[in-house]
Amino acid sequence: MVTLIDGSEASLRKYLAALPGVDKVGADQRAAMLSTRSIKTTSKSWAIDMAIRMVDLTTLEGADTAGKVRAICAKAVHPDPTDFSVPSVGAVCVYNDLVKIARESLNLNGGSHIPVAAVTTAFPSGRASLKVKIQDTQDALHDGATEIDMVIDRGAFLSGKFGLVFDEIIAIKEVCGNRAQLKVILETGELTTYDNVRKASFIAMLAGADFIKTSTGKVSPAATPPVVLVMLEAVRDYYLQTGMRIGVKAAGGIRTTKDAIKQLVLVNEVAGPEWLNPHLFRIGASALLNDLLMQRMKAASGFYSGSNYVTLD
């Protein structure tokens, strides 16, 4: 394995300072250009099924109940109960106190292969002591989470304390160990520039993230195509330097099949076809799944489906 830094803050700063800047106009334009790709017929059907397999079916509301979590778990296993050819989703994503219910409920519904992702580290703001963040993560692991979605300390990042951000990710990674995949949420909507998105992506990858994730879903803008493009370029560059493939999770604002397919085009064109699988690309969403199902029904029946034929979430 190639080591890019020696673990000291000085070497991290030196590495980040040497990163080339992001051409904002170029990134916006390339994302806009790739968004115009037309994906039709069999390619579209393939893309819809792939997108379903990539969905992290998410419920992150203060009003979440055990009943709601059970409902989305049933949906995660068989998104369309009338059509068992629809694949299961990539994971179920819940707050950490609901992990146990989600795990039990998935197992009961025949979804023991579906991982439960927990948002931890004082999600969504990340404003808590490291001790609390570690405890938060340990609780989730104890209850059966096999994916941890942590948030970075954006305040520290924006005030230039890159070492602090880096050390926190390392601390959480240590807690996860081999028990869980670590997804690091950058909250790109608060990072203000694409250069910052690129820097934060590299801090997360250097600290051992298995996935870098755009947003919490609580801040807008979230997973806009140019931001995802910048992050995909970062994982591609990291792969070229180290030989390790890091995943990307786009979360927030992806509501329609069209949005999801645009993301898949970006993945294929920017990172490469190796990333077109649920182990390396995920889409965090709740409303998206219904739209994907309706498009799938349309492809099968030949006429447009309606919202009466999918679940109310």
Binding site: F303, Y304, S305, G306
Partner: protein, 280 residues
């Protein structure tokens, strides 16, 4: 020096916006005298799909607005149309031919029809609802409620009156609608959409498409989000095809003759019956 003409671009009306067709297509409209008049947008099935999405998302807000408020907005549409009378008259003469007097009458009737249906908004449930006599200690009420999203294929001949006769009763009761305007005479429909956009009607309640009925109607009839279909403007040759497509989700499909009748409202309403225990 003479001034250069400012020609109007006739576009679609979807979700309160005026987009061109996503397909980029347009088609030629000729007047009663055979001369070229305009190139309105030729809507595609995807424009229709987007319209249905807008209509569906506007439904909960519009149907839960008070009937009195809906009446005020329908009246407001009449007010705004009144201010554009001359434009409607000019377009009707160009498309349908005939005298200014005949065209003027059609515009007046259309405006008056909005006022007439505006008055009905807060009365229809009283007139058509009922307190039902039943054997048991309950009050039992039946009230008519909106059906949902209605597809309308407007009258092909009376380009303005036929259109208003179809859309006013549908939205008066709290439905939202996707409308295919008269194929050969679509201009008054587009001008009407400009009046709708400035009359407090929430975005998406009415969506108006211009294009080929034979191309769009089957997609409208088979769309599972659409609950009712007005086929008054459909060529009888394709009627059975549309009825078969609409049977999949048991759409209510109607063809109307009268332009002014409470039956046109009731055709796209659903009866809800409530049982309430006496003494509670």
């Amino acid at each position: 020096m003479s001034r250069i003409d400012i020609k109007k671009t006739y576009k679609l009306f979807i979700g309160g916006q005026f987009p061109r067709s996503e397909s980029g297509r347009s088609y030629e409209i000729k007047g009663a005298n055979g001369k070229f008049i305009a190139n309105p947008a030729l809507a595609s099935r995807k424009d229709l799909r987007d319209s249905v999405t807008s209509a569906k998302s506007a439904l909960s807000g519009w149907s839960s607005a008070t009937a009195f408020n809906r009446g005020q907005i329908l009246y407001r549409i009449a007010e705004i149309m009144e201010g554009r009378r001359d434009q409607f008259v000019t377009e009707i003469i160009a498309l349908e031919g005939g005298s200014a007097k005949v065209a003027n009458t059609q515009v007046e009737q259309a405006i008056d029809l909005w006022v007439w249906y505006a008055g009905w908004c807060d009365k229809i449930s009283t007139i058509a609802g009922a307190t039902n006599p039943i054997a048991g200690p309950y009050y039992n009420f039946t009230t008519p409620e909106e059906l949902g999203v209605v597809g309308i294929i407007a009258d092909q001949k009376d380009s303005l009156l036929g259109l208003v006769a179809a859309i006013a009763p549908v939205v008066a009761t709290g439905n939202t609608a996707v409308v295919i305007a008269s194929e050969k005479r679509p201009l008054p429909a587009i001008t009407l959409s400009e009046a709708l956009a400035t009359s407090d009607l929430p975005a998406g309640v009415l969506n108006i498409l211009t294009g080929k009925v034979s191309e769009l109607a089957p997609w409208l009839a088979s769309h599972m989000e659409i609950d009712g279909l007005d086929i008054s403007g459909v060529d009888p040759k394709i009627e059975s095809e549309l009825r078969i497509a609409g049977a999949e989700n048991l759409k209510r499909i109607h063809r109307f003759n009268k332009s002014q009748s409470p039956q046109r409202m009731l055709a796209f309403m659903e009866a809800k019956t409530v049982w309430h225990p006496i003494g509670v």
